[in-house]
Amino acid sequence: MNNLSRLFVALGAGLLACSAQAAEVTIAVAANFTAPIKEIAEAFEKETGHKVVTSLGPTGGLYTQIKNGAPFEIFLAADDSTPAKLESEGEIAPGSRFTYAIGKLVLWSPQEGYVDEQGEVLQKNDFKHLSIANPKTAPYGLAATQVLDRLGLSESVRAKLVEGGNITQAYQFVATGNAELGFVALSQVYKDGKITGGSAWMVPDDMYEPIRQDAVILKKGADNPAAQALVDYLKGPQAAKVITAYGYEN
């Protein structure tokens, strides 16, 4: 063997070794988990050398895409019912469903001092628009209506409700000032243990059903070791630190 062919063999072997170790994993992620998954994926890539390709979208929309052959290997939903549905339909790697985060609801306004810490601003009812996510499709929207029910305010605020297509949009309506306040995900206005700006009422846990966000390995990812590695990482302590820093329970 001459030197040149030795070089090629070495290169080829190197490439093979690389491809065996560093695989790619394609994940579908509910929009509310955008910021934490970015951070988690970066740390995971650094640690393992695997590459994470992330698609963001609304849970229902991602479900439809998965049912129609989307190339996702892991699905991080915004609820627990959609992953359960996929499980019962045989679309996931058996036994792979787990809760990766529990979402927290917060009543928030970008104005300082607008929302008091007990949420009495709702009783006063002197706002024009209260933004929530669509309760039919978004778990945070459903939780918001449960809170309004508990407070006995469903009727009195009905005409003032504006709905975002998802929780991101519900936040957008408030952030741009078009609605004075809104029920948003704590993760949207929370970083490193405190509210990032404006004023907020942390809604007590017992006023709404827990917003469990479940993840699954989909059939397409069942044989991808990188998919299993990412799920293990998500369950691990480093990911947990990021997840709680963004205002989720773990």
Partner: protein, 226 residues
């Protein structure tokens, strides 16, 4: 009945929105198209480009800027508030404003083409017969440009019916006020209510097909004007 009362409300709202938008666009678009067709001003290019912007911009861009400018901190929002009108997002009027921008090129461009196709000659003849500019416009231009008006109305109406991104971003999904058919379909799909989604979505396909069919079969008999 496969359509719920919410579906029917959405259909009615969409038709109202499209009708009002088309009417307003014919009123606003006709002078703009006329000016674009006749002018030799250096502003012709820039104005034409601004009118055509919604053809290339994603509705999210338009929706985002409408939400920000019409909101309480935006210039339009401050203006409407100073008039005591409140702000436009989450209102039917807001959707109409958004749709007028969004569908503008679909009305202005066919009208402009129709006006340009008339040429100088009929206008000169009218002038030698001592017709004033208004008389010329109503007795000569309007009849000659009729096919252009038909095309503009159909396209403006149909395009507004098919509007989604802008409505989603400034509407707030309020039943009977801002929840149009396209948003209702989106909701059904998101909620995995595929049967209802099919009824509305299939209806939209049929509607769009027949609108375009009417447009293109109409063209066959009236060659010459777009």
């Amino acid at each position: 009945m496969p359509l719920s009362s919410h579906d029917l409300a959405a259909i009615r709202l969409t038709l109202e929105l499209a009708s009002l938008t088309t009417l307003l666009l014919l009123l606003i678009g006709t002078p703009i198209a006329w000016w674009l067709a006749r002018t030799r001003s250096r502003l012709k290019g820039p104005v034409g480009a601004v009118v055509a912007l919604p053809l290339v911009l994603p509705p999210t861009v338009l929706g985002f800027y409408l939400l920000v400018t019409m909101g309480p901190h935006g210039p339009v929002g401050q203006f409407t508030q100073s008039l005591g009108l409140g702000t436009l997002p989450f209102t039917f009027a807001g959707l109409v404003v958004g749709s007028v921008f969004y569908s503008m090129p679909f009305v202005v461009q066919p009208l402009q083409n129709a006006f340009e196709a008339i040429g100088e000659r009929p206008l000169e003849v009218a002038a030698t017969l001592r017709a004033g500019p208004w008389d010329t416009f109503f007795s000569v231009v309007l009849p000659l440009a009729r096919p252009g008006f038909v095309t503009a109305s159909i396209l403006g109406f149909a395009h507004t019916v098919g509007e989604f991104g802008v409505v989603l971003m400034i509407g707030g999904n309020i039943p009977g006020v801002t929840r149009t058919v396209s948003v209702q379909i989106f909701d059904h799909v998101e909620a995995m209510e595929y049967a209802q989604a099919h009824w509305l979505a299939g209806g939209m396909v049929l509607f769009s097909f027949f609108v375009l069919l009417a447009l293109y079969s109409g063209r066959r008999f009236k060659p010459g004007f777009n």
